[in-house]
Amino acid sequence: MSDPDTETSVAGAPAPRGALDISIEFSLNGEKQNCRIDSNAVLLDVLRENLGCRGVRGSCERGVCGACTVLVDDVPVASCSTFAFAVDGASVETVEGLAAADGTLSPQQRAFAECGGYQCGFCTSGMLMLTTGLLRREPRPDRGTIRDWISSNTCRCTGYEMIMESVERAAELTAAQDGDRV
């Protein structure tokens, strides 16, 4: 099956406005970014609208559902509830940074695809970043740990079992990949 609808382009960033604009510099998926932003802009909007990371999903905008989860210096955060200025000097990772440059899926991505750890897919970017953060901290988490971590994000479709299995599988695939590298 082909990629879904791409006929409607995502337009470039709206120009920053007002006297309160500030300049920040951070690493986004390994690349340096310099942006001028409104001082009260949230990270979610900057990522989606200024930097074209539309894989970061906005939903509750209350820091509750976790659909907008990104990694800031390896820590999963709700980008809807993080001021953009707070990532000045930090390393930010989004779902766009997971796959290799040639399109090869990361272990987490392969695991979620294989185990069906998504349905509508709106929570998936956040769940993937959560998983990435978890596995960096604990490469072989047990079921209870996975459940605790996944409980910070909402999925209304799956009933969570397939997500938790996806995380377990991601741990296996990551270990295998890291083993290959050694």
Binding site: M1, V10, E61, C157
Partner: protein, 805 residues
């Protein structure tokens, strides 16, 4: 080209309980079945493992949803909502807002002259409130501006003067003689042509927008009952809480409308917009990207009318209206309900007669309520054998958020009351609730009611599957633990639902599937691509699901009623078969052989003598340098039958079975669900991952309703928990330690390869199974949802005080 489904069950039943499908991980405290009874060996794809077709787009973040759509020069809309539950609009002053730099248009009651109201069957909802606001959150005005911030600033400058009117929030308040009439002018409405036993009326009472009735059998049988029990049940109201909010991007002039919108039903939306805006349907184009969850909420216009009108008022510039989650809560909800059930039974537990009255809290506008009402009323008998049924369901208008389609569609309300009363009857007669069900459940093939389709699952066998999965029959009654089982049924596949599909294949054998089944998470696109690949015997990766827009996509009646696989699947399969036959006819002519003996495999033609002919060079030779595309259509509609109560017999019966074990803390009333087993009958699995996800997702939806999900209103009709922080949906930590879903393949479905729809059935029986487990544990029979600690505690206390319910 019409395919008429054969509803008589003549195939040999394959209904053995699949106890053997539970794998050893379950025994080890795990979670899953391992192997489904698989498709016959000649099927390469159907029923096999394999990732869904939308996997890569979704795990890379590249999937495009309505919320991602951007058009050049796009404006942004925000709306002003009523702070009052019921009030007359005295005046609206928009002058200051209009003067704000960056504001391009404002829509109020003065800018919608000539536009019609919308709603399913009863059309009573205006584009923006006109004259009167009817609930806290009703849209009073909309603003389009260069960005959301400017639009929000403009809203602050709009001055609305209200005269507050008395309001009603519950069905009892709304039905009282003294209640204010919420819609004084009778709205336009239509009643379908019901069949035998069913009827409906509009505005049967001042605050009743729709009343459905169904009756069959003679009421004389009440005289033969040894016992008659009457009980009242209450059903709480949930929010859909789909993660992608309602969103529309509209480009509209006076003559033409184009929208990119998160809708489950593009053609229904087009028809409704045609009515509202007075334009022919061929001047309206609806595009549907991927949908970030819907669960029924995305049927019917949501963000669309306001966005369209604002675009018209902004000179045709694109206007995006993306609601916040808080606004989603104020747009549509599930129906709270009061259900009164009177059942007559013999002393041995044989069911004889059931009379029921369902009062749905429909909120301020009819929305999808009439259709939900007919289903809620119709499904009150459950899957049981009654000699007489008399059922009434009323949609009661109140000053609350409009209620509409919701996973289970009236079946959840009906199952809660119907199944709960079965348990109460068992309790009173001293019978085992499981045995009472077995004694009265309809058999495979037995008509649900006269003129209706036969039940196409073995209900008893299915119940045994979930009961065995939790060790129901081996349970030792210890402490405050208990178990319950439940079964819910709903007619699936929609009513009178036509579906069309088109398959076309390029010269090289790349396939484009065109049909309007929207992908909202259920895996429908994947299943459809598998069906096409199965028939054309090609790699499913070669099948692309064409983007949906109403100008180019063949007609469909909407993605709802769990109809995707069974209804659209038949159209898709037929289209693929027609295409295959067309190609083989053509190839036969080229090769001068009879087409009957030819096979199409991976865009090669195999002849009976074993020769293989690549189609690509054959096509190039005949059609020239660009080649050619073969194209074929498919159509499906289940048979009409005027005897059927709801216009046409249902396509299939969607069944959900659940069994639960709980532990109740009598000191706090807190329930811990120790085990939950759910099962649906897929008939025949097309996509394993999708079937499993549908059942498990639905079960956890039901778990939320059972334990804690509930929209709560303040004294003035304001929603108290209308945001993600306060309205809690199940999280991973809420899923029971032992949670098993078992997809059955009983094989009697009307869909391709015997499949049936999934997605709603798993929600139906969960709350009632848990409630019975609570009764089994502590003897407290609870009739109201959710089973909150307070409610459980009070029920235990009342029981201990010897207070009869």
């Amino acid at each position: 080209m019409t395919t008429v489904s054969d509803r008589s069950i003549t195939r040999s039943p394959r209904t053995e309980a699949r106890n053997d499908v539970v794998d050893d991980r379950v025994a080890n405290g795990g979670y899953r079945i391992q192997e489904l009874p698989t498709a016959p060996p000649q099927h390469r794809l159907v029923g096999r493992d394999g990732p869904r077709a939308d996997a890569t787009a979704k795990v890379t973040g590249k999937a495009v949803y309505g919320a991602d759509i951007v058009r050049p020069g796009m404006l942004h809309a925000k709306v002003l909502r009523s702070p009052h539950a019921h009030a007359r609009i005295v005046s609206i002053d928009i002058s200051a807002a209009r003067a704000l730099t960056g504001v391009t248009a404002i829509v109020t009651q003065d800018e919608i002259a000539g536009l019609q109201c919308y709603g399913t069957m009863v059309k009573d909802q205006p584009v923006v409130a006109t004259g009167v606001v009817r609930y806290v959150g009703d849209v009073v005005a909309g603003v389009a501006a260069v960005d959301e911030r400017t639009a929000l600033a403009a809203l602050d400058l709009i001055r609305v003067e209200y005269e507050v009117l008395p309001a009603v929030f519950t069905v009892d308040e709304a039905l009282a003689d003294s209640a204010p009439v919420i819609h004084p002018d009778e709205p336009f409405g239509v009643i379908p042509k019901y069949g035998q036993g069913a009827s409906a009326s509009l505005r049967s009472e001042p605050n009743v927008s729709y009343e459905f009735r169904y009756s069959t059998g003679s009421s004389d049988v009440w005289d033969t009952c040894d016992h008659v029990f009457e009980d009242a049940f209450h059903f709480s109201r949930m929010n859909h809480m789909h993660l992608e909010p309602f969103v529309t991007v509209a480009e509209a002039s006076a003559d033409e409308i184009e929208v990119w919108t998160s809708t489950q039903a593009p053609f229904n939306l087009r028809k409704e917009l045609s009515r509202v805006f007075g334009l022919p349907e061929n001047r309206i184009r609806v595009h549907v990207p991927l949908i970030g969850g819907g669960f029924g909420a995305k049927n019917g216009p949501k963000a669309d009318p306001v966005a369209i009108r604002l675009s018209q008022l902004s000179g045709g510039r694109a206007v995006r209206f993306c609601m916040t989650t808080e606004e989603v809560f104020l747009t549509v909800s599930q129906h709270a309900a009061t259900l009164i059930v009177k059942s007559g039974v013999r002393a041995d537990g044989t069911f004889i007669a059931r009379r029921s009255t369902v009062l749905l809290n429909g909120g301020a506008y009819a929305e999808h309520s009439p259709a939900v009402a007919e289903k809620a009323g119709y499904r009150m008998p459950g899957a049981y054998r009654w000699q007489h049924i008399d059922s009434v369901c009323k949609v009661v208008t109140t000053n609350t958020v409009p209620a509409g389609a919701f996973r289970g569609f009236g079946g959840t309300q009906a199952t809660w009351a119907s199944e709960r009363q079965v348990d109460l009857i068992a309790d009173r007669l001293g019978l085992d609730p499981y045995e009472l069900r077995v004694r009265n459940l309809k058999a495979l093939g037995e008509e649900f009611v006269p003129g209706e389709s036969g039940i196409d699952s073995d209900l008893v066998a299915g119940m045994r599957v979930v009961a065995d999965a939790i060790g129901y029959h081996q349970r030792a009654r210890t402490g405050n633990r208990g178990m319950g089982v439940s079964v819910g049924v709903k007619d699936g596949g929609g009513i009178n639902k036509p579906a069309m599909a088109r398959v076309k294949v390029t010269t090289r054998g790349d396939v484009l599937l065109n049909c309007a089944l929207t992908e909202m998470g259920q895996g429908g696109h994947s299943a459809m691509a598998q069906l096409v690949a199965e028939v054309l015997r090609c790699d499913p990766a070669r099948v692309a699901y064409a983007r949906i827009d109403t100008d180019n996509t063949p007609f469909d009646q909407g993605t709802n009623a769990s109809s995707g696989v069974a209804v659209m699947g038949q159209a898709v399969r037929t289209a693929a078969e027609n295409l295959r036959d067309q190609v083989l006819d053509w190839a036969g002519a080229q090769l001068a052989v009879e087409p009957a003996g030819l096979a199409l495999v991976d865009w090669h033609v195999h002849t009976p003598d074993g020769a293989v002919h690549d189609l690509f060079p054959m096509i190039m030779e005949v059609f020239g340098n660009t080649g050619f595309e073969f194209s074929a259509d498919g159509f499906y509609k289940a048979r009409n039958d005027r005897r059927a109560p709801l216009e046409a017999p249902c396509v299939f019966w969607e069944i959900g079975w659940a069994a639960a074990e709980v532990e109740v803390d009598p000191e706090t009333g807190r329930i811990t669900v120790l085990q939950l087993a759910v099962s649906g009958d897929a008939g025949k699995v097309i996509n394993k991952i999708a079937c499993r996800g549908q059942d498990e997702g639905a079960a956890v939806f039901g778990l939320g309703q059972a334990l804690f999900e509930e929209l709560r209103y303040g004294p003035d009709g304001e929603l108290l928990n209308a945001e993600a922080l306060l309205y809690r949906v199940p999280l991973a930590e809420d899923v029971p330690e032992r949670f098993v879903s078992i997809t059955q393949e009983q094989g009697h479905g009307a869909g391709p390869f015997g499949s049936k729809g999934m997605g709603e059935g798993g929600m139906l029986p969960v709350a009632s199974a848990i409630a019975q487990a609570v009764a089994d544990a502590v003897g407290a029979q609870i009739t109201e949802l959710p089973l909150s600690p307070q409610r459980v505690y009070e029920a235990i206390a009342a029981r201990e005080a010897g207070v009869s319910r």
